[in-house]
Amino acid sequence: MGTNPLAIPANNIICSLTDPEGRSLGAPLDLPQDAGPKELYLLINTLLQNEEKLPYAFYINDKELLGSLGAHLLQNRVSVEQVLQIVYQPQAVFRIKPVTRCSASIPGHSEAVLSVQFSPDSRMLASGSGDTTVRFWDIYTQTPLFTCTGHKNWVLCIAWSPDGKMLVSGSKDGELRLWEPTTGKAIGNPLTGHKKWITAVSWEPAHLQSPSRRFASASKDGDIRIWDTTLHKTVMCLTGHTLAVTCVKWGGEGFIYSSSQDCTIKVWETTSGKLIRELKGHGHWVNTLALSTEYVLRTGAFDHTGKQFNSAEEMKQAALVRYKAAKGNSQERLVSGSDDFTMFLWEPGTSKQPKARMTGHQQLVNHVYFSPDGRWVASASFDKSVKLWDGYSGKFIATFRGHVGPVYQISWSADSRLLVSGSKDSTMKMWDMRTQKLREDLPGHADEVFAVDWSADGEKVASGGRDRVLKLWMS
């Protein structure tokens, strides 16, 4: 065999294992050249003293290590002179199968389906539509369960409470109604107070309050109201925005984040209702917000195992455990997407200066979503592309091109390995994070796709749009 001039002379490579935030695990190690992900996986589990072996992914200079160390270094021309930094990332233990086919198209709505959401325990599905009704669907038999009438105008947003016991729906005339999912009946009278249409609804997380009582609603009239479901009225009204509030998110630390068309994001404290911080920086309407712990807050105590809970206390404890695991040692991060084609990464708990500015989109950013493990942020934009960014630093990773119309909404699978996007061109596409390419095309809708949601147990994807049909996709 001739000598390859680029061959690494020594057989061992000095490496140091670091976690995603940059902290090194221990002293640098001497690893053989042919060590691959399998050997590193055994090594890291022993070093971290994990009781069960958890799966990890390894990255050298932001590129995933797939083969042996030597081959990877040769391919990417990484120098052996310095100590090699290998970043390890814990991955979800369970693996979600990609959905490939439309298992059911359920008609029922007489107007476009505007929003679709699975309940936190993934047993029920609710959808709101332009025909002023909210419908509950049975996932297992794929038939409609209940039709809840009462709203006088289009039902714009729906939100399940984190314990799965209530559903709130907001409509175009500013009214909010509570529904009981097991019977399909309304709970009490409609909640009035907002003067214009409701743009977003967000519940208080389960680890702060169980059973769920309070939720926040944002409206075009510029205020955010905190409602109590047991008292059935507004307990706080957070005013301050001068134009419409486009998105509101209830964080896990007792803060409420709200974005508005007046180009600012305001951070409010929930106990007193005071404005704590104002995050300025965008040049145009801020359309959407995403929190790094959003997925965990939405699903509450439920996870992919499908365990049911007996008491509210148990649920609160389980939700707290899940929240702490998802948050880790880092602060809560916030990403905002705007009409000025850029996004900002903020750490609202620490400072009012943005941590990073994420540019690259050529049209307005319509939806941003953190992956459930907080590693990645995906952004859907009207420039027909979906972009992937690093969740900790805000660095650009990849673009997913394939749609021929503006991308409206995205949804992550529970293991953060797959992403599904729905667009104006009536198709949905599934993207794989490992290969960073298109995994599956999901055509079938006859018209624009307005809403997509992936169930928390990862089994099904639901989508609805202008063609009035609700589609369920399975693997």
């Binding site: 107007e111 486009t246 021929v404 409206y408 006859a446 624009e448 307005f450």
Partner: protein
């Protein structure tokens, strides 16, 4: 006891009277639920009204299967050969009259090279060569400036089709990738037929209507 009964009777009577007088009652104008429901993120944005994609492609497929084309201009005025071609006199004494120059608009395609001038019988002048057409979508009622891919059929004869002559009533194929149309199977549509609706040699531009 009787008072209670009378009270309930009076209540129902009042209700029926109110129902009957609903006809003359005036309600607030914005009580009506509008069409075209859009989600919250699209509410403040002006979007052009869109026709459904599905009906277009299905109709096209059905027509192709039937073998018949339903076009907006079914009949066109026949064009005589002496109107289409002008005789060019060539040669030292200008007595040879075998060359012809096309007087109508033509489309030649990107890879076109002329035949050696000594042998070419039909001359297509560069001034009458066009690459783009203003095509109107009949349902959306908006016009796009689209590239021509080729001439599919000229109603005046197959010779004109092969030469690429575009007159009123000609079916041309245009590049519609900028419209973002998608078939029900999820594939992107990039070429569609359109029929020319004006006399391009008189106007200096090709106007057409998209065949959906």
């Amino acid at each position: 006891m009787y008072a209670k009964k009378r009270y309930s009777e009076k209540a129902t009577l009042k209700k029926t009277l109110a129902m009957h007088s609903e006809r003359t009652n005036r309600h607030k104008a914005d009580d009506q639920v509008q069409d075209g429901a859009v989600p919250a993120y699209l509410l403040d944005r002006e979007q052009t009204a869109r026709a459904k994609v599905l009906s277009n492609t299905i109709k096209q497929k059905r027509k192709e299967k039937a073998g018949k084309w339903e076009v907006p201009l079914p009949k066109v005025r026949p064009i005589a050969e002496d109107e289409m071609f002008r005789v060019l006199r060539t040669g030292k004494r200008k007595t040879k009259q075998w060359k012809r120059m096309v007087t109508k608009v033509t489309f030649v395609g990107p890879g076109f090279t002329r035949k050696p001038p000594k042998y070419e019988r039909f001359i297509r002048p560069m001034g009458l060569r066009f690459t783009k057409a203003h095509v109107t979508h009949p349902e959306l009622k908006c016009t796009f400036n689209l590239d021509i891919i080729g001439v599919k059929k000229n109603p005046n004869g197959p010779m004109y089709t092969s030469m690429g002559v575009i007159t009123k009533g000609t079916i041309i194929e245009v590049n519609v990738s900028e419209l973002g149309l998608v078939t029900p199977a999820g594939k992107v549509v990039w070429g569609k037929y359109a029929q020319v609706t004006n006399n391009p040699e008189n106007d200096g531009c090709i106007n057409g209507v998209l065949l959906v």
